[in-house]
């Protein structure tokens, strides 16, 4: 064998031995036990502090909420996506309270309009949708069914229906104020629905002595715009009043 080859073999041999030695010294013991990584890393990750409990745990105590939520449009949205990490709470619910996202921001993370979201995903333009009210005034967070702001009357009275669905009168059905004959859609001009005629009609809900829910704003029926019909000042399908 020529002396060149001998020397080169020696040189490459030393390099190979050095590689084996370095491998021996530097490659962690647990490398390759499960795959192409350090097996100890799994234990290290497992040892990290747990912050999220997972929705199965929440369900054990809040089965009422879960019953509402499962089957709803938010079925696939985990509790902690809205309520935040809840492991501490799950361990001691009275000591560690969880808050609920009652504002508008959290919902907008998922629902604000963004073209990269999947087609058909329900999206809104937060600056325009629902005024400045918190989302939960109109939507139930645990059961956000598609709101029918628009009822069957909408097919023909689209403009009014749309306007109303964004208004404070959103929750009122058309028929609350318009007694409508069943045949009105078939013969609209002959069968004209009723329209409120008196101030006291609005007073049912807005009068100071009305038995309606307390959240509805009240006016003194005797002095408030006393000489006029209410809808001479307030558009009934989009009433404005509070400053």
């Amino acid at each position: 064998m020529p002396s060149q080859v001998k020397r080169l073999i020696l040189l490459f041999g030393i390099a190979a031995a050095a590689l084996v030695l370095v491998r021996f010294l530097l490659v962690p013991d647990s490398f390759g036990r499960y795959g192409h990584y350090r097996a100890d890393a799994v234990d290290e990750v497992a040892g990290m502090e747990i912050r999220y409990a997972g929705h199965l745990l929440c369900q054990e105590c809040h089965d009422d909420v879960d019953a509402v939520k499962s089957g709803s449009m938010h079925e696939a949205v985990s509790c902690e996506a809205c309520h935040g990490p809840g492991n501490e709470h799950a361990e001691d619910p009275f000591e560690n309270r969880l808050s609920a996202p009652r504002g508008r921001r959290r919902c907008a993370y998922c629902h604000s309009y963004n073209p990269s979201r999947p087609t058909g995903f329900p999206q809104i333009e937060p600056d325009e949708h629902g005024g400045e009210e918190p989302c939960i005034t109109c939507h139930n967070p645990h059961q956000p069914e598609p709101l029918v702001g628009i009822e069957d009357c909408e097919a023909c009275h689209t403009e009014i229906a749309k306007t109303k669905s964004k208004s404070h009168h959103l929750s009122l059905h058309c028929t609350t104020c318009h007694a409508t004959q069943e045949r009105h859609p078939g013969a609209p001009r002959e069968m004209r629905p009723d329209k409120p005629r008196t101030r006291s009609f609005c007073g049912q809900c807005h009068g100071e002595d009305a038995s309606s829910p307390e959240t509805i704003p009240r006016v003194d029926m005797a002095t408030h715009g006393e000489d006029y019909l209410c809808w001479q000042c307030h558009y009934p399908h989009f009433p404005e009043g509070r400053r």
Binding site: S3, Q4, R7, L8, L11, L19, V22, L26, F31, H36
Partner: protein, 407 residues
């Protein structure tokens, strides 16, 4: 943070159409452009050297050793752009310790190690061994120590051992040609195999990369040969230069045909991405792709080289022509890498918008680093040329002997 935001805000104003949020910032920038450029020069220079050895092209013999040293100098720098890009460059060696055989990126380590140690260093060693032995005897001081170490203690200069050097060198060259193809084909493969990216994904990519590498390697050696002759006040060997020019011409024709094939193929397939790619080439890449790469770097050199070959003008005119085309081609091949690497990231995966690339000045991946990485191979080459003078062929020993006497 503020810096980052300003940068983002600026970029955002230049975005056209719709892009996804994570596409504003390009992940691979200038240094990654440099990486295929430099490896290409290595492969090209080596293939040029192999021509002399394997196919016995006597004319280019004056550039044989110069090409080898050029390849070596550039190869030593080739991984540095990658290291500059890594967040943890100090961990790069781990790909050798825990080799991952299915990772195309990790394979670079092995292709590189094979090519550096088994091909280039060995070939240089066998070719220079006799000279090294002689220098280890004629020189004094540190040089003597250095050459003694480089000789690995093999001091024989007998007829028989020189014959063996010759045969071993030839064998390594034969192994080296596919290795050089592998080295640069690999770089093309890295891009060509990204099937989610319509600008990159193409089976032709490795081949296109390879041929452009050969073109750039020949151009580089041609330039270095001309400049070094001029610096040494040595007459340029015109047959050699003409031969290099001829190779350059042929390689360029092959390269252009392949790129045209790729282009026509894309055009005819007209996949859904074609509109956004066309838009990109017409706007973002117009200067670098159409003006620099296609016109100045391909059409002009092709015409000039063809005219030179057909008319055989005076020596001076030929020299100027070769020098000019060499520079044009190098610039064009650099921008070819630029167009591939950056182009693949400029359009959105939504195929509906384009982002922009802004070169940073400072930073590990900035223009300054890129400039240093471009100059570094030349510095290394100067050192190598000082240590292992390539000018001589077999007569070099005498020349060196004269130098030591005169100095």
């Amino acid at each position: 943070m503020e810096e980052l935001l300003r940068h983002l805000a600026e970029a955002q104003q230049q975005i056209t159409g719709y892009i996804y949020p994570n596409e504003i910032e390009l992940h691979w920038g200038l240094v990654i452009v440099l990486y295929p450029f430099i490896t290409g020069l290595v492969a090209g220079a080596f293939i040029l050297a192999s021509l002399e050895r394997v196919f016995n092209v006597k004319e280019v013999q004056p550039t044989y050793r110069l090409s080898l040293l050029t390849a070596l100098a550039f190869l030593l720098v080739a991984p540095l752009p990658l290291l500059a890009h890594l967040g943890h460059p100090e961990r790069a060696f781990e790909i050798f310790l825990t080799p991952h055989l299915q990772s195309a990126m990790a394979m670079f380590g092995f292709v590189y190690a094979w090519y550096l140690t088994v091909v280039l260093l060995l070939e240089v060693w066998f070719d220079y061994r006799r000279d090294i032995v002689v220098w280890s005897r004629t020189y004094r001081g540190w040089r003597r120590v250095l050459y003694s170490i480089l000789s690995l203690g093999v001091v024989s200069t007998s007829e028989e051992s020189l014959k063996f050097d010759e045969r071993a060198g030839r064998f390594i060259t034969i192994v080296g040609i596919p290795s050089a193809f592998l080295l640069h084909g690999y770089v093309g493969f890295i891009f060509g195999s990204v099937k989610a990216n319509p600008w990159w994904s193409s089976v032709l990519m490795p081949i296109v990369f390879l041929f452009s590498a050969i073109v750039s390697g020949i151009a580089l050696v041609l330039l270095i040969y001309m400049v070094s002759s001029w610096l040494r006040k040595h007459p340029i060997d015109m047959p050699c230069l003409d031969k290099l020019g001829q190779f350059l011409f042929y390689a360029l024709i092959l390269d252009v045909s392949l790129e045209l094939l790729d282009f026509v193929h894309r055009l005819y397939e007209a996949e859904e991405s074609i509109d956004i790619l066309a838009q990109m080439v017409q706007s973002r890449l117009f200067t670098s792709r159409v003006v620099v790469q296609a016109l100045m770097g391909t059409v002009v050199p092709l015409v000039v080289l063809a005219v030179v070959r057909a008319l055989k003008p005076r020596e001076l005119v030929r020299k100027v022509a070769y020098f000019g085309t060499g520079i044009l081609i190098l610039v064009a091949i650099f921008f070819m890498r630029w167009n591939v690497v950056l182009g693949g990231q400029l359009f959105s995966k939504s195929l509906r918008g384009l982002t922009v690339y802004k070169i940073g000045l400072a930073g590990a991946e900035g223009a300054v680093t890129a400039g240093i990485l471009t100059l570094l191979p030349f510095v290394i080459l100067i050192v190598l040329v000082r240590l292992l003078p390539p000018w001589s062929g077999k007569s070099g020993v005498r020349e060196v002997g004269q130098q030591t006497h005169s100095s």
